[in-house]
């Protein structure tokens, strides 16, 4: 009995001694607090005593970590033995933002004053940022695919916020030594996953509490609406988007778009298509499967609003869809609505539009904000 106990105890003691002499990173891990990320799949946050580590997952290779940022507050001395990663001193006060979607997120966090440069200002709808561009307090650094590097250097930015694309870098901008936050929020497959990225932005801009509050308020509103849509007895079938070129770019059932329509109480025709990207499907296959869909919703960007007549002129076979014949087509002109600006922070508002289309009885007196009936 004693011999058996010794046999077990000796290796256990050895293990204990080994663990006492552990590396500093393991020691840190013991004092770290993981921040619970509820919907987003693209990032992880761990809070340590002296810094916060944020790791971004590669959306195209989920086993890979795309980037790690070590956030250290500006009023603290830079700790020694920091783990590997891009060190960012927070709160960031001077940022260049490549996309209008991320400008809208910073505006919600009351951080638009920290934007010193934007790309492609013609696509920005925020009056505050546009007036900044007009007055010269915010610089337009050109195209997001080929920004003016000299202007970036001259602006003295502390950080660049950009949208990553698969297998492409940021050109000369990534050689400047300015940290680039690769915000792949658009690759999330849940609308609230996109919203949750505002919590990440909050950490960089010293607005953690505000960002958490915005996220939770949107999440509660979204989930409340989702519960409401569950009350509907029927789920109308829905077809999305339009034919482009020779095929139809169909959002997959697992994409955030697919999730939106499921949560709104709709029966998305292509819900069984897997993956986060769009699927390319020939027109006749779409017609064969979706010609009897109850609703047809699509987005377009045009200065003038289109009509049923325009749609038929565009491609006559469109008129054979049941939704066309029964005038149940709803459209969102992204040039006249703030759809893309609100998509990240207020998916609840977009969900509300979808619920109103599918189940108007659940939202009496509601006025849609993004999707409207296609004009006759």
């Amino acid at each position: 009995m004693t011999r058996i106990s010794l046999k077990v105890l000796v290796p256990l003691m050895a293990l204990t001694i080994c663990s006492c002499a552990s590396s500093p990173s393991q020691e840190d891990a013991a004092t770290s607090q993981p921040d619970s990320v509820l919907y987003a799949r693209g990032f992880q946050i761990r809070h340590f005593d002296e810094y916060t580590a944020v790791s971004l997952r590669d959306p195209w290779d989920t086993l890979k970590v795309r980037q790690t940022y070590i956030l250290v507050e500006k009023d603290r001395p830079l700790p020694e033995n920091l783990p590997e990663g891009i060190v960012v001193r927070t709160p960031v006060e001077r940022a260049i933002v490549y996309t209008s979607v991320h400008c809208a997120v910073l505006e919600q966090l009351a951080c638009s004053g920290k934007i010193i440069g934007v790309c492609e200002s013609e696509y920005i709808s925020s009056p505050e940022i546009l007036s900044g561009v007009a007055s010269g307090s915010i610089a337009d650094i050109g195209l997001s695919t080929a920004p003016d590097v000299e202007k970036i250097i001259d602006l003295g930015a502390e950080m660049i916020i950009a949208s990553p694309f698969q297998n492409s870098g940021y050109g000369a901008a990534e050689k400047l030594g300015i940290p680039i936050l690769e915000a792949a929020d658009y690759m999330e497959n849940h609308p609230l996953g996109r919203t949750e990225w505002c919590r990440l932005f909050g950490l960089f801009f010293g607005k953690r509490a505000e960002a958490d509050s915005i996220f939770h308020s949107t999440m509660n509103s979204y989930l409340e609406l989702k519960r409401l849509s569950c009350e509907a007895a029927e789920k109308p079938s829905v077809l999305l988007e339009l034919k482009y070129g020779s095929a139809w770019l169909v959002p997959s059932g697992e994409s955030y778009i697919g999730t939106f329509h499921r949560d709104a109480g709709g029966d998305y025709i292509f819900k069984d298509i897997t993956g986060s990207d769009n699927a390319v499907i020939p027109f006749e296959k779409v017609f064969d499967v979706a010609s009897d869909a109850d609703f047809w919703l699509f987005k377009y960007a045009s200065r003038s609003n289109i009509t049923y007549k325009d749609l038929e002129k565009e491609y006559q076979p469109y008129s054979n869809f049941r939704a066309f014949k029964e005038k149940k087509i709803y459209v969102c002109n992204t040039m006249h609505t703030s759809y893309y600006d609100d998509l990240t922070i207020h998916p609840d508002r977009i969900l509300e539009d979808f619920i109103f289309i599918y189940h108007p009885e659940l939202l009496p007196g509601y006025s849609p904000k993004y999707y409207f009936p296609l004009q006759q």
């Binding site: 070129g245 095929a247 017609f287 064969d288 002129k313 565009e314 006559q316």
Partner: protein, 335 residues
């Protein structure tokens, strides 16, 4: 004997064309039983309404469009190769299709219009402007090689303006333009088909009427002049006809590469002759056959996907061009 050979050749080509045309109607991404397709075509179908729409409003206009666009591009390629005495000339060589591309790029990228009607109109306008310039230059330049160089330069000019527009455009607009640039026979709906068909058939009839001057040009311009052919007028008419055929096909279907360049060579290889009396009809039928074949190949077998037409035409036609170049000395019409 020769006549009998020609009749056999025409019959075989016609049968092949008919087989490909019917295959385009019988096969697609949706499996529809042959019996039902025949019932739909004969007007006695009482099954799924969506199948009737697919066959009559999608597959049928697409097959007719492929048939006409293929022959239009092939015939204009043949005429340009004869006119410029250059085996590597094609409809894109004079910048006419680049003109159409530029028109579409301006409407899609600069004016942000998504309407298909506007796309056709602007493609046609772009091609017409380049064609008018080419015709104007042809009255100024007597040398065909110089005219060819001017055409190539105009193509480069149009391409560089497109590059600037693309560089300045947002990714969704570029995506939209790139999709148009991939070509698609399915863009022409049954309603628009008559417009496309009338212009294409008119251009093809004009090409047939130009057989005599084309044959005369094979002997060289001075010989042709001695035979009583008005060189200046013939050149103008050939350019006008090829311009019309290329502009129509590009405006309605998007730019389709290689058919115009490769098909005349396939026809010459099959025929072993450069006489346009036989060569032009064979080119016309072969152009239709290749276009119908490429249209079928755009449907990836066993999957949901569709391949862009512009990716298929070089796969089918480029080996022919390589064969022509490698066997330049052995092929009769180069000697």
């Amino acid at each position: 004997m020769n006549r009998r050979k020609n009749i056999t050749l025409y019959c075989a080509a016609g049968a092949f064309l008919l087989a490909l045309f019917l295959s385009n109607i019988f096969f697609g991404s949706v499996k529809i039983p042959l019996r039902d397709i025949l019932a739909i075509l004969s007007g006695n179908f009482e099954g799924r309404e969506s199948w009737r729409h697919i066959v009559l409003e999608t597959r049928l206009p697409q097959a007719v469009t492929a048939l006409l666009a293929g022959s239009s591009l092939a015939v204009s390629g043949l005429m340009l190769q004869t006119l410029f005495k250059n085996p590597l000339a094609g409809p894109s060589i004079l910048g006419i299709s680049d003109g159409a591309n530029l028109g579409v790029a301006v409407s899609m990228i600069y004016f942000a219009t998504t309407s298909y009607i506007t796309t056709i109109a602007t493609a046609f306008a772009g091609a017409a402007v380049v064609l008018a310039l080419i015709l104007w230059f042809s009255s100024k330049l007597k040398n065909n090689v110089m005219l060819l160089i001017v055409g190539i330069m105009m193509g480069y000019l149009a391409s560089s303006v497109i590059s600037i527009l693309n560089f300045k455009a947002s990714s969704d607009k570029v995506h939209q333009y790139v999709l148009w640039g991939m070509g698609d026979f399915g863009n022409v709906s049954i309603e628009k088909l008559p417009y496309f068909a009338i212009i294409a058939i008119a251009g093809l009839i004009a090409a047939v009427l130009l057989i005599k001057p084309l044959n005369a040009l094979l002997l060289g311009e001075s010989y042709a002049s001695n035979l009583g052919v008005n060189i200046k007028r013939s050149r103008l008419m050939i350019l006008g006809c090829t311009g019309l055929l290329t502009a129509t096909a590009t405006a309605f279907c998007g730019p389709i590469s290689f058919i115009g360049l490769a098909v005349p060579h396939i026809a010459r290889l099959v025929l072993g002759s450069s006489n346009h009396q036989q060569l032009l009809p064979v080119t016309l039928i072969t152009g239709s056959c290749i276009a119908l074949l490429c249209n079928m190949l755009t449907l990836l077998p066993g999957s949901n996907g569709v391949l862009p037409l512009s990716a298929i035409t070089p796969i089918v036609c480029a080996p022919v061009i390589i064969y022509v170049i490698l066997n330049r000395k052995n092929i009769q019409y180069f000697n």
